[in-house]
Symmetry: C3
Subunit: 396 residues, 3 copies
């Protein structure tokens, strides 16, 4: 318990202004704000481990809107909101019912009279997902300002076309933990964010984009690498460059997995679809052009197949710092010989790092809870102080 | 807080006997009972605004049975039951599984061992929805009386073929609020409940029926108006007539939107399908006669199209009292040029009243919570007194 | 309340070691452990009746995985977990997503970071269901031992290919209650677990298997009876034989419903599919051989039809002890002339015992809650003691 109090004291040195704000992109938050979210998440995680209740809501809904399938993030959001005392209600949206314009404005208010947090996943359409979240946000602000809502629910981006902030922040918490618990120790560490082969297509860009825009904030040496043509959203590249310059870190792009892995302290090999493919796909989906979609898939799989050598195997791991880089993945990984014939990572490399990837994932519920706490409570440190002093057991 | 206590004192002057009763039709409740539900809802709403917990259940399920699609009411029921401390469990009924007779009797008990409230929407079949709710109710009473259930769950009608009491009561709460907070002020106020054009068909009758049977209770001048042929369920007309006579109000039927709007203080323009169409539809649905249903839809849309002039536009609003009648709608409205080409209301009229319609909707969760509270607690006033005195924060 | 304390004192005489263990088969538990689960369930039921909170979790998820349809067990699990303070999250598994091997191991951990209990129904495939539960269990143990999970969730078998322990234990609680509240009184009582005719096919074997393996534990005279060919899983027969020998009870198999009913104190007539049919079905399902499945169904229904005389009617009931045996069923029963033309039980027999079957079912939520409590709390008696002394009302 004294550790918890000490930890809170550290957060008091950070300047953050997260109250009433949504968490949509890490690039909109200051370094202190990102640090505060991570540190608060660590306190919540430790409280859970020590069986201290972090129930800050006696009642209230948390709503999730998944415009794409999800298991991990769905349960992370369910867990996070339950930890704080909210009841999850999934909003099963038919695209026609809640379209753009008038309807979002109305529906956002209709579901929010007693709602404290809304989590949204909308990652299928380039240029749309993050925009949609902002439309929901401004509808809620409108309702709150007009006295329709007694409170302004916090929106958490559970993956969009630009960023996957709950994933990237969970990854950051994991890296900080791995580095001995201090952001300072991450400075100069090389992380290889690389494309990897997968026998599937259309995987979103939000993870690599989230990683390069976030990890460049903390002075890391971020080496992005992918086969020619598998470009990311240009604006995220610009942000990564700017961040690296400001933080004293590095940001490089190459088309060689080996080069990225060389002396890397951390590797994050993961498949994604090229940005322009996602754009073409967005248009085909909008037109419900099934034939076109099939054609695109065929073309992409054929293209992917040229890069089967982009597999994270022992040989590649041997290129890393001491051959012992930390392997990261948002899971599920395409494991060669296990979940597919040839994939992102060899079975022996994955098995070696299996438990660490589970631990990496374990931060996500607490990161989400931290984002909600910081948005809904004016002084989240004081709130946690009171909870810790109260010391109510989570399990009786 | 003193306001809340004062408010409770007012309710003590009302005679009501709602304990152990279901809320299926407003016409079955006394004026004092209806007033009590509204006043208790207002207290719950104000407690929520003031961040005072109204959690009266430590555990317990609330079950919703939706035999028709719903967003607004679904979330209202989820919110209301969560506010009281219940966990929502949706009962996803296949029509074949829970048919009439033996099965309802059994299933109602099987799902209710730890259940405190059941919300049911069943509005598709004329003559069936309200009947179904009563069958569930008598099954629960049977189980409770035989010691199968430790408690008799409260049933709340979330829309049936006859009434939509949670909507009409939320509307009433809104009108009372608009009239300065007193039922007395509603006396003599003219409300135009009119049909309006919509490019869709098969909209239920429960809202207009709910409005004319409820608003005639409080001495209002209720002007029902619709194109020839768009009749409501005859028994609801009889109830409205009787109510108006008893309450010193008025009830009129016309076939002119202009006449209804003339000098109206409140307007409620909303589309519905004629009663006899709903009856024909019920039979076709029972026979799964898809061709017949398509034919009926075609016929009805063609008929609707004759009455496109039944749109609530500025010109019509100018006929109302001072041109400033309150526009009401249960939402979502068919807004001309926004959600459809031509619809129930013009875009400028809707925009002017958009926020008021959201506020109108905001009463529904609290009305539902009030109905459950009054049914499950012998002395709901004392219960709220204790909660207010305890003053537990809803948000820590 | 003093009754409750007295009841707890009785349980203290039992030796049980259920902490951290899953509840997968009654045959794996000692008699004292089974007794403890029943007695704790009774305490929880009585606490509910007396309006005393048994909320032992302040937050935490309960996850249900239903690989087959369910209403009763679904609501029992929802009720049980809610009673203890957990929030239910259903895991809607696509078979392809969570396959065997690597994926179970990963997914089990991914959904369990804040999870306290997991209920699984997997009864379709002979040789698979119980195995699957053990795979989930060992994945959770692996995660817990590696520090991935802060707690090891308890798994409750909500029906598998071998056993249906929550059903059989609820039945046992009902029989104990019927016998005056003492296991001792069950000694020597004859229970006829018989096949009965049903116009459907493919009903699982887990109920008769669960009954014969459990009721033979308590010195009962268990008479299993079915038409030639409708055999159960051989290993469950062996267990029943061994149990009967050890407990001083009896276990017999006949092919005559009359013989089984003769002088029976309790009858449990219920349809099931022959073991070898379920095996053939498993193989056809695995091959997605729809034609083969249809052929098998046809063959089985024709075979069932030879045994329409296996109906529990008044004439058969008259063979029982004083003509007054207790009729049991897991529900829903196939009632002749009500839910089907000819079925497991005649309408008048069922109606006579309708309420007792509802009461039989009412034990299930509390049995499940008891299983979770005993697995997640080191000293469940002390936990309940504290709850009873605290005396917090469940309904305010």
């Amino acid at each position: 318990m004294s550790t918890l109090i000490d930890k809170l004291a550290v957060i008091e040195n950070l300047k953050f202004n997260l109250y009433g704000k949504d968490f949509l992109l890490t690039s909109e938050k200051s370094n202190d704000e990102l640090s505060a979210i991570i540190e608060l998440a660590e306190v919540l995680k430790e409280m859970h481990r020590q069986n201290i209740s972090s129930r800050v809501f006696d009642s209230g809904l948390a709503i999730s809107i998944f415009r794409d399938q999800s298991t991990r993030t769905r349960f992370s959001f369910a867990s996070a909101t339950n930890l704080l005392g909210l009841q999850l209600q999934e909003f099963d949206e038919k695209k026609s019912q809640v379209a753009h314009g008038e309807t979002i404005r109305e529906t956002a208010n209709m579901i929010s009279f007693l709602t404290e947090a809304i989590g949204i996943r909308d990652d299928m359409f380039i240029g749309k997902g993050n925009t949609y979240m902002r439309e929901v946000g401004s509808a809620l602000a409108d309702g709150f300002n007009h006295g329709v809502l007694h409170q302004r629910p916090a929106i958490v981006n559970l993956q969009c076309d630009i960023d996957h902030p709950t994933q990237a922040m969970a990854d950051l918490a994991h890296l900080k933990d791995w580095a001995g618990g201090s952001f300072e120790n991450l400075k100069g560490k090389k992380i290889a964010m690389t494309w990897a082969y997968s026998p599937s297509y259309g995987k979103p860009l939000s993870v690599p984009q989230g990683i390069i825009t976030l990890m460049t904030r903390f002075g890391m040496d971020v080496a992005l690498s992918y086969p020619k043509g598998y470009d990311l959203l240009p604006e995220t590249i610009e942000i990564a460059k700017k961040n690296a310059k400001e933080s004293g870190g590095k940001f490089s792009i190459s088309n060689s997995m080996d080069e990225a892995f060389k002396n890397a302290d951390i590797v994050y090999p993961k498949s994604w679809a090229p940005f322009n493919v996602m754009e073409r796909r967005t248009k085909l989906l909008e037109k419900s052009d099934d034939a076109g979609l099939k054609e695109l898939e065929k073309e992409c799989l054929a293209n992917n197949a040229k890069f089967k050598s982009w597999e994270c195997d022992e040989k590649k791991m041997n290129l890393t710092n001491g051959g012992e880089a930390l392997y990261c993945h948002c899971l599920p990984a395409d494991i060669s010989g296990i979940s597919c014939k040839e994939g992102e990572v060899s079975a022996n490399v994955f098995e070696k790092y299996r438990i660490p990837t589970y631990i990496e994932a374990s931060f996500k519920p607490f990161v989400i809870a931290s984002m909600i706490l910081a948005s809904r409570f004016r002084d989240p440190i004081a709130t946690l102080h009171r909870l810790i002093n109260k010391g109510r057991r989570r399990r009786f």
